[in-house]
């Protein structure tokens, strides 16, 4: 079953990217932010002697989980249920939204507080709740900024990465109740304004909605890792807690968690340890929420699991390290990817979850430079998957006429045979001879114009290598 929700791009990547490229401010903001996190990450990763071994361990644990996912999910459901949680299963975004909305409506609550959850972004939960007359407040600072601005996240970890301080001040001034024109763009002042705004919400909301970074099958425990402390509030104050969790978040036991609590903070925020790690198991009488629900979401994950090469994308722990080192992401930002999962991981995850439409341009949104693979704490070979997905796309269109295919086919026919190949080289050399006086070409007809729009083309010299070799 294909995934639905906010993972389906509305327009092809090159078109969306073209729009974002015009925004000089965006590029400046992104460059500054990604380079800062990138350098921090390199420093703290460099401190760990066995980082490579940890990465391999992380990858191996995730692969093992993926290999026996159904069994582990059942065990998780059993343990969580035994601990007093109610477990729900959702096949796609619509089903997941429907379940959560029903649960919230059932409590008669009209407002909910949320702690960052990619999964709820993925399924479009805020929109669904709004349609049901329920106000959802994001409590992560960056999420809140994006929500107030009526925007969508642009980064996995820092959804408001595309704004600078003064832009954030302007958003607060115009959208946050009670904020005056006197608010400065001083970070502590901005944080204080947000804190005051959120405090009121935390105290009045009776329903909290969260995601989870990890779900422990053995005990039914959910784990949330964060740095602002808002998670603590969302997870403990409300009477009802609903957690929306992708089915790939499972870990067999607590002992595997240790590896990821080392890999995740260093890769994502460049911290040795994240400030807050919250874990909860079902309900505890007299402490925390009285009712806990867990919605396990598939939304295209099972389909992704079926692809032997592509399934490694499900190892992802959403650290965002690949975004911060990606030269393409740095130029266009998250919105160009048309999905809540941007950057290199988005380029391989979104098309697999949805297998449709404009998402098919995402595997080409990369120069295959490999920086993402090097940065990924669970060793997802993103370039390998990108090429694999390109190939799947090409194979799916076999038999349909295409100028590109025709070019590749005839090029392959020439290049597989030395005589044809040598003749082609000779012809190319001779054909360009009349132009040689000019040295370089500045304009070529379509499709090569895509090249000459910003680059000159050198001309072949008088002799090919093999002609020289034959004569020497």
């Amino acid at each position: 079953m294909n995934g639905t929700g906010n993972i389906v791009a509305l327009r092809p990547f090159p078109d969306a990217a073209r729009l974002e490229l015009n925004d000089q401010q965006l590029r400046t903001n992104l460059r500054r932010a990604t380079h800062t996190i990138r350098d921090k990450r390199l420093r703290v990763v460099g401190e760990v002697d066995d980082w490579e071994a940890l990465r391999r361990a992380g990858a191996a644990i995730k692969d093992d989980v993926l290999a026996r996912l159904p069994e582990l999910l059942e065990r998780f459901e059993e343990s969580a249920t035994r601990a007093g949680a109610v477990v729900h299963w959702a096949r796609d975004a619509a089903e997941a939204c429907e379940i959560v909305t029903r649960l919230v409506t059932g409590t008669a609550a009209r407002e909910v507080v949320k702690v960052k959850s990619m999964a709820t972004q993925e399924i479009g939960l805020n929109e669904a709740l709004e349609a049901a007359g329920i106000e959802a407040t994001e409590t992560d600072l960056a999420e809140l900024i994006v929500q107030l601005a009526d925007d969508t996240p642009s980064h996995i970890l820092v959804p408001a990465i595309h704004y600078n301080r003064s832009q954030i001040r302007d958003i607060f001034r115009s959208r946050m109740p009670g904020v005056t024109d006197g608010l400065t763009d001083d970070p502590p002042a901005l944080a204080e304004a947000a804190r005051r705004h959120l405090r009121a919400k935390f105290l009045s909301a009776t329903v909290g909605i969260s995601g989870a970074n990890f779900a422990i099958a053995e005990t039914g425990t959910l784990v949330v890792v964060e740095s602002e402390g808002n998670g603590r509030m969302c997870l403990t104050l409300p009477e009802t807690l609903i957690s929306v969790v992708g089915i790939e978040k499972i870990l067999p036991t607590f002992s595997e968690l240790e590896v990821f609590l080392q890999l995740l903070p260093r890769s994502s925020t460049g911290e040795r340890m994240n400030p807050y790690t919250s874990m909860w198991t079902g309900v505890t009488p007299g402490d925390g929420p009285r009712t806990t629900h867990i919605v396990l979401v598939d939304n295209g994950r099972t389909a992704t699991l079926a692809d032997e090469i592509g399934r490694q994308a499900l190892r992802c722990i959403r650290c965002s390290a690949c975004l911060n080192v990606c030269p393409v992401y740095e130029r266009v930002g998250g919105h160009a990817y048309g999905s809540v999962y941007p950057g290199p991981i988005g380029a391989i995850l979104s098309p697999q979850l949805t297998s449709s439409g404009a998402n098919s341009t995402l595997p080409y949104a990369s120069s295959l430079c490999g920086a993402c693979f090097d940065a990924c704490p669970v060793r997802i070979n993103i370039p390998e998957v990108l090429v694999h997905l390109r190939q799947k796309g090409v194979d799916a269109k076999r038999g349909k006429p295409s100028a590109e295919r025709a070019a590749f086919v005839s090029l392959s026919w020439i290049m597989r045979d030395r005589r044809r190949y040598a003749a082609a080289l000779r012809a190319a050399r001779r054909g360009s001879a009349p132009l040689r006086g000019r040295g370089r070409l500045r304009r070529l007809p379509w499709p090569a114009s895509a090249w000459t729009d910003s680059r000159d083309v050198p001309l072949p010299p008088k002799q090919t290598f093999r002609e020289w070799w034959a004569k020497r």
Binding site: F13, P14, A17, R18, L21, R27, P327, V328, R331, V332, Y364, A365, S366, S367, L368, C369, G370, A371, F373, D374, E384, V387, R390, Q391, G393, V394, D395, R405, F408, V409, L411, S412, M415, R416, D417, R418, Y421, A422, L425, A428, R440, P447, A448, A450, W451, D453, S454, R455, D456, V457, P458, P460, P461, Q463, T464, F465, R466, E467, W468, W469
Partner: protein, 244 residues
């Protein structure tokens, strides 16, 4: 030792000087090189663009041509990465090809690897009295882990002054068909790379791959303020006097 030369399609047509430079350095060091004329192209562009079926005849051709040599050397990091990193994957399921790849791929070297790792040379006796800045290409850097092997060779060149390149490890934006399919993003990446090259004030920008150099050079020649010329480091290593 039987050394075979693999001259990639880009080098054969566009940059024969780079191939000649490899021959001249190796011969100067007392080695004979063989250029098996049955060779064509490694198939990288086809495979990376998703045309696996169309790439396979080239993969087979490469393996058949170069089986039996002690070492295969190519002046292109990305083509060597294709052979060493992608061929084993592409060959999966075809036992004959798998064994051929297992034989050939580990013995296929980028030029600096052959010189430093296999032949144990870091000073090839070159002289090149110019300022240069070095761009480590992505495939050389992250797939072959060339590290500073090309730099070690350059540092031994007489008269050469090496200038550090800011954000050197960032992709120049070429990426084969990426430069066409996402031309705008590619151009934005190129602009930053060209800016960094300009800032060094070097006379030459050097790399281990002529395709990246075509891209960077094509960008530089559009910028009025740019003066750096692209050159493959093999050509510097071949030089024994002042270059043109």
């Amino acid at each position: 030792m039987r050394i075979a030369l693999f001259i990639t399609c880009v080098n054969d047509l566009m940059y024969p000087d780079t191939g000649r430079a490899v021959v001249s350095v190796l011969e100067r060091l007392g080695h004979t090189v063989d250029f098996p004329e049955a060779q064509t192209c490694c198939g990288q562009m086809h495979a990376n663009s998703g045309y696996r079926a169309e790439a396979m005849p080239m993969v087979r051709g490469f393996v058949d041509t170069f089986r039996g040599y002690d070492a295969v050397v190519a002046p292109s990091g990305s083509c060597v990465a294709m052979v060493r990193d992608s061929y084993p994957r592409l060959a999966l399921g075809d036992p004959d090809l798998e064994s051929g790849v297992a034989e050939v791929a580990p013995r296929t070297y980028e030029f600096a690897e052959l010189l430093v790792d296999v032949l144990g040379v870091t000073d090839v006796g070159a002289v090149f009295p110019h300022t240069v800045t070095y761009h480590p290409t992505c495939h050389g850097l992250r797939m072959l882990r060339l590290g500073d092997k090309p730099l070690t060779l350059l540092r031994a060149v007489g008269g050469l002054e090496l200038r550090p390149l800011a954000s050197a490890e960032e992709c120049c934006g070429f990426g084969g068909t990426f430069a066409l399919k996402n031309a705008g993003v590619s151009a934005a990446m190129l602009a930053d790379k060209c800016g960094a090259v300009d800032a060094t004030g070097a006379e030459y920008v050097v790399a281990a791959d002529n395709s990246c150099l075509t891209h960077i050079g094509g960008g530089l020649s559009r910028r009025a303020a740019s003066t750096a010329k692209p050159i493959h480091y093999a050509e510097i290593l071949a030089s024994t006097g002042s270059a043109s």
